[in-house]
Symmetry: C2
Subunit: 249 residues, 2 copies
Amino acid sequence: MTTAKNKKFKPINNESSSNISQEVVSRLRDMIHRGEIKAGDKLPPERDLAKLLNVSRPTLRAGIRSLVAIGVLQSKQGAGTFVVNNEGPPSLDGNQLRLLASLRGFTNSEMFEARLALEMSVAGLAAERATSDQLASLAEELAGIFGSIDEPEQFLVHDMNFHQLVAAASGNRILTSLMNMVATILFDVRSKTVKRARDLKESAEMHRIIYRAIRDRKVEDARNAMREHLLNAQAAQAKEMEIGENGKK
Amino acid sequence: MTTAKNKKFKPINNESSSNISQEVVSRLRDMIHRGEIKAGDKLPPERDLAKLLNVSRPTLRAGIRSLVAIGVLQSKQGAGTFVVNNEGPPSLDGNQLRLLASLRGFTNSEMFEARLALEMSVAGLAAERATSDQLASLAEELAGIFGSIDEPEQFLVHDMNFHQLVAAASGNRILTSLMNMVATILFDVRSKTVKRARDLKESAEMHRIIYRAIRDRKVEDARNAMREHLLNAQAAQAKEMEIGENGKK
DNA sequence: TTTATCTATTGGTCTTACCAATAATAGATT
DNA sequence: AATCTATTATTGGTAAGACCAATAGATAAA
């Protein structure tokens, strides 16, 4: 253990009104903001870090646990605690929005409007920016969509994958993260209703139109195609829910 | 303490691969999803709940801490632990996105594009839906904007408030929540640069145009006005940062 | 009835001990 | 020398017990 690397962890003297474990959170958060701790870094072992910060180990754990919960840190028994890595798509935990949805009961219009805002934008940006690799992946997922027209649940998975690839092709990580968050509540709802889907062929066709607009670099066409698709998807889902309610009588 | 109310908390027999505190999280989360625990509910005291779930109190605290970190529960020393309340604007914790921004270094374009997607949509929806109370609040904030043209930091506060009111007037809680999340990183950046702002009068004027479009129910005008404002804001901010860099030489 | 004080409740912090998963090290085999 | 296996050390996870600090509720006094 190199003490030089640990010099940056200074004792906490809690003189503010908040509790000590919240100070631990603030301290680590500020160090991340200031770049003193970077993506992928391993924190000192809990016992050591607790000593360095002059708090008890359970108090330190409480702070670490908070940061783990929001996805900034990862703890691994036997290995250590790490700042999440830079690799791969950025990810915001969808649980927060999901629980908010449960507590609040977001309406279908709210979800549709949120999708419209986000997904029209990413479609337009994807038409500007998609790489040939990304276009190839989109084409593959499109094939998957057409290949699962008779299997609604499989269709849904390909559908979600297609939308994620469009977001990735937009090159905007904030929009991608927000879209993925909204996708978690959407998946919750749709996985319950999709087995009653009736006309997935039309939906598949719309994905093809989106793909072609992106491939051909037609920004407004991509935006409009995504809009039409989302309108159609909302109508289809409303029908799926209606069938569900009639099916109960 | 009524034992009837506590019947729903059943012991955890951990047979899955995840650790026990994560099971606590899952259990409470599922109960919220299923409506067995509702907004505003008080959970049993930690000592009692730990016994009911057949885990130690520190383990229960770890689970609760996670849910507190994502904003679903609130713990208050001497009072108890509560499910967050239904009242007031929905709120997603901005810290996750903020730390992601620090770890990843979101570009100004990414932020601008995200704002464009979200704020054009809420402006259009606000033009459809704003109540007269909301319009009155917007007018007040507009007055605040015009009244602080010579005080950039105060201007920024009114500017942010105006945008939040537009979001509230959209009547879409998902978009409002997402926008507020993005606003936290934006505020971080802008509070550092705004003191170097030069021509806030033009910005104030653009807020007026947005307000009028919303008041007059002109959806496309509201969208376009917001777009122009954001374009102008991005150019202004780029200039603020440029002045900052030149100011260092 | 209202206000002040006291007590009980409940979350926050700490110490100590032990368990469980992972990583590192040592020894045996090829 | 390289590879595999077993053992040990490290590090996060869980538990028990004690005590502190903040809040809420009960009681007493004005």
